[in-house]
Amino acid sequence: MQSSFNSKSYEILHIPYSGFHSDLFSVNFFVPLKRETVSSYALVASILTTCSKEFKDYRELNIKLSSLYGADMASIVTKVGDYLCIKFSISTIKDLYAFNGEKPMEEAIRLLLGQIFKPNFENGVFCENDIKRESRILIEHIESELNNKRLFARAKMIENMFCDEDYGTFRYGNVKSIKALTAQKLKNAWQEMLSTAFVKINVIGEKLSNSLLAEIDCLFDGLNRENIVERNITKPAKLPTDVKTVTEHYEVAQGKLVMGFNSAQGNDKETVSTLVMCDIFGGGPYSRLFTNVREKLSLCYYCSAYAIRNKGFIMVDSGVESNNAEVAQKEILNQLNAVKNGEFTNSEFEASIKGIKDTLLASYDNLNALDAWYTTRAMEENCMSPKELASAVEKVTKEEVITAAKAVVLNTVYKLMPKEEK
C-alpha cells in the first residue's frame, strides 16, 4: 500500500489491489461539523453529482455514466467525529473488460473531477433550476427518515444525546435550513469546501496516470488553500450529569428502544478494548444481548450494540413490545453490568475476537468497504489498516475488556412508542 502527501495540501492514498474487476476513485472533503452549515454542504454535494458545466442536463450525465460501463458516481455526506465528510466517488470496470480498448476508469475520473471543480453556474452562481430540483429531493429524503422507524429512533437518540453539540444535527440538517439556502450561499459553501477542507483522495486499483495526477495538481493549484482544517479536533461525547430519558409516541406497531452510552474515543488501546467489549455485549448472535434479551427472555426481535469509536459512544437499539420496554431496558443494563463484572465466558470472549477479526479481514474483499475504512480514519494521525486492527484485537485481554466496560456510562434513553400508549 502506498500513500503520498502532496505539497498542495491534499493527500492521496493508493491501494494497488488487482483482485477486483473494477476500480474506485474518491475525493473526500472534511470540514468542521456545524449545525449552521451542514445543509449547504449536503445540497452542494447533491447538485454537483447531478449536473456540471459539461453536463448541464442530468439525463445526459446519466447516459454518459451508463455508457462508461455503468460508472457508479455518488456523493455521500456523513458525520465522522466532529467533522462532516463530503465524499464524491466513482467506480467502473477496469480497461481490461471494456469492449473496444476503451479506458472507462480514466474517463470516469476526469468526469468526476469536472463535476466537483466545474459546476453548472448561471450568472456566477449555482443555477436556480438545479437548486430547486435538488432541494426538493433532499427535503424529501429528510422527511422520509420517518419511514424507517428503526433508523428514525436511532437518529432521535443521537439528537437528544448531543442536543447541545453540533454532533446532534442530522447530516443533511433540516428542512428549514435547506429552504433558506440561496444560490450565493451555496457558492460560498462550495468555495469554502474547496479552499479549507482537508482533502483525502483514495485510489483503489490501478494507479493514476502521470497526466491525471498533473490534472489534479492543476485543479488544486488554482485554489487558495492556506487555512486548511486541522486533524484531531473531535472531542468525546460529554459525560452526563443525569440520565436523559425521552419518550415519543408515533403510529407504530412495535416500539423502539435506543440507549446511548459514553465510552472510549479515539484511536488507541482503550478503543480497541471497547470494540471487543461492545461485541461481547451486543455484537453477534453469541453476544450477551442476543442470547439473553432476545433468546432467553424473548423481549426483543433485535437487540444490538454498536461502538461509534470516533465520537466515543455506544448505541444499543432494540425493537420491543411497548409493555416490555421497561423490562428490556433493565435487562440490557443487567447484561452490561455482567460484562463489567467479568461475567462472560472464555467462549464468548474468543467468539468476539474471532468475529471481529473475520469482519476486518473481509473488508479487503470489498472496494467500498476499503474506501470507507480509509475515509473514516483520514483525520487520525495514526491510521491502522484492517489487518493491523485485527492484530491489535487479538492482543486484547479479558481484564482490558472489563476495564473498558467499567468506563461505559448510560447517557440517554430514547423510546419510540405506539400512540395508544399515551
Partner: protein, 420 residues
C-alpha cells in the same frame, strides 16, 4: 457425479458438481480473497403451502411455515448452530423468500470447519412444542417490525392486488394467527419433503479448495434417489384481483408500487428476464425521458425504481417510488409505454444500458456474496451463470419493444401507502 467446468472471458471460472440424486454443488475459487461465502439451500419458500410427495396425500400447511422452519433449524438438542459458528469464527445467517430458503456463513479462516457445521445443522432438525411456542413469540415480533415498514407493506399489497389465489400474495413470515397453528408435526412434514438433497444446492465462492469441499459433501450424500415433490397451486386467473389498493401509515409522503401482471404458465427464460431488465431501464431508469419528466414535474425522486419479480406461477413488473401523486405517475408510465411501443426510443440508450448491465454482471464477481447469490439463482432456475454476459451483448432494439408490449395497463394494479 457429473463435473462441469465453466470458463468466461472475464477471467472467472466455476465448477458445477451434480450428484445422481440431483444435488448441485457450485464452487468458484477466488484465491486472492481473504473471505469465503457459502450457501446451503433448498428450493422451498413461502409459496409452497400445498404439496404432495409421489402424488400421495395432499398436505396444506400454515402460512409462514417455511420462514418458521428456517428459524427453528438453528436449534438442536445440544445447543444452537450460532454457538458452534462462534467457536470457529463463522458469521452465519439465513433467509427465506418466495421460492427458496438459504442458510449461509462467511469467514476468513477455518472454512472447512464452518462448512461441516453448515452441512450438519441444516440436516438435523429438532422441533418440540416448547421450542415452537418460544419461536412464535420471536417471529410475532418480527412480523410487527415489518408491519412498521411501509416499503414492505406497499410491496406486499401490490402482490395482494395482482394475485387472486397464488400464495405469492401472502407475507413470507405469515401472520401472528397463521404461525400460531404451526406444530412440530407440520414442521417435520415440510422438512422431510423439501429438505431432501435432491431438492437442494450448495454454492461457494472464495479462497477454497475444491477437493476438500467435495470430500465434505461426499460424507453427506448417501442416496441416489430423487424425491418426487408435487407443488400444488390453485388456478390463478390471468386478470388482476383488484386495480387499486391503499393503506394508511406513518409516512412523510405516499409510497407507491405499480404492478403489471404477466403471463406465468411457463417460467420466463434467462433471456426474457434480462430483456425485461433492459426494457425497464430504458422505460424508467435514470437515463430515460420518463424519469426526467417525472423528476422535473416533481412527481418522483431518486427512490424511483423497477424490477421483474417472477417464479413458479407468477411474474410481474413492479415500478415503485415516492410521490405526492401516485395516480399521475401511473398515467405517465402508461403513456410512456404506449409512446415507446408506437414510436420507438433512442438507439443510443440501448447501447448505454447494455454496457451498464454488462459491467454490473462483471462486477458481481467482485463480491463473494453477490456471486454466491447468482449461483443460487442458477441452481433454482437451472441455467449457466456466464450465459448472461453473452445474452446482454445481443439484446436487440426490437427485443425491448416486444417486451414493453406485454405491460398491459388494463391488467395492472396500483398499491399506495399514504399518510395517516
Amino acid at each position: 457425479m457429473q463435473k462441469q467446468i465453466f470458463n468466461s472471458a472475464i477471467g472467472e471460472n466455476y465448477t458445477l458438481y451434480t450428484y445422481p440424486c440431483g444435488f448441485k454443488v457450485y464452487i468458484l475459487n477466488k484465491s486472492t480473497y481473504n473471505s469465503s461465502y457459502a450457501i446451503f439451500g433448498t428450493k422451498y419458500g413461502s409459496i409452497d403451502n400445498c404439496f404432495s410427495v409421489k402424488n400421495g396425500e395432499k398436505l396444506t400447511v400454515p402460512e409462514g411455515i417455511a420462514h418458521f422452519l428456517e428459524h427453528k433449524l438453528f436449534e438442536s438438542e445440544d445447543g444452537d448452530a450460532f454457538s458452534k459458528f462462534a467457536k470457529t469464527g463463522g458469521s452465519a445467517n439465513a433467509f427465506t423468500s418466495f421460492d427458496r430458503t438459504c442458510y449461509l456463513f462467511s469467514c476468513s479462516e477455518r472454512f472447512y470447519e464452518n462448512l461441516d457445521i453448515l452441512l450438519d445443522f441444516v440436516r438435523h432438525p429438532y422441533f418440540t412444542e416448547q421450542t415452537v411456542n418460544k419461536e412464535q413469540g420471536i417471529i410475532g415480533q418480527e412480523i410487527r417490525m415489518y408491519d412498521d415498514n411501509p416499503n414492505w407493506c406497499v410491496f406486499f399489497n401490490v402482490l395482494k392486488a395482482l394475485y387472486n389465489e397464488h400464495p405469492v400474495r401472502i407475507d413470507i413470515a405469515g401472520t401472528t394467527d397463521s404461525i400460531s397453528e404451526i406444530t412440530p408435526k407440520y414442521l417435520y412434514d415440510c422438512y422431510n419433503t423439501f429438505y431432501d438433497l435432491s431438492n437442494m444446492f450448495l454454492c461457494i465462492a472464495g479462497n477454497v479448495n475444491e477437493e476438500k469441499i467435495i470430500k465434505a459433501v461426499n460424507k453427506i450424500v448417501d442416496t441416489d434417489s430423487k424425491k418426487e415433490i408435487t407443488r400444488i397451486f390453485t388456478k390463478e386467473e390471468s386478470t388482476v384481483n383488484q386495480k387499486y389498493i391503499e393503506m394508511k401509515h406513518s409516512v412523510s409522503m405516499p409510497l407507491f408500487t405499480l404492478g403489471y401482471k404477466l403471463p406465468a404458465e411457463k417460467e420466463l427464460t434467462l433471456k426474457e428476464k434480462i430483456v425485461y431488465s433492459a426494457a425497464l431501464d430504458i422505460l424508467s431508469g435514470e437515463c430515460s425521458t420518463l424519469y426526467k419528466k417525472l423528476t422535473d414535474l416533481e412527481l418522483v425522486n431518486d427512490e424511483f425504481d423497477s424490477e421483474l419479480l417472477c417464479g413458479n406461477g407468477y411474474a410481474a413488473v413492479l415500478i415503485s417510488g415516492e410521490s405526492k401523486s401516485p395516480k399521475t405517475v401511473q398515467e405517465e408510465i402508461n403513456n410512456e409505454i404506449e409512446n415507446i411501443v408506437n414510436n420507438g426510443y433512442e438507439e443510443k440508450l440501448l447501447d448505454a444500458v447494455k454496457r451498464a448491465m454488462y459491467a454490473d454482471a462483471v462486477r458481481r464477481f467482485d463480491s463473494t456474496e453477490n456471486v454466491v447469490m447468482q449461483m443460487v439463482e442458477s441452481a433454482v432456475f437451472d441455467y449457466e451463470m456466464f450465459e448472461e454476459l453473452e445474452i446482454i451483448k445481443n439484446i436487440s432494439y426490437y427485443d425491448i419493444l416486444e417486451c414493453l408490449k406485454t405491460l398491459n395497463k388494463d391488467n395492472s394494479s396500483l398499491s399506495v401507502v399514504t399518510q395517516k
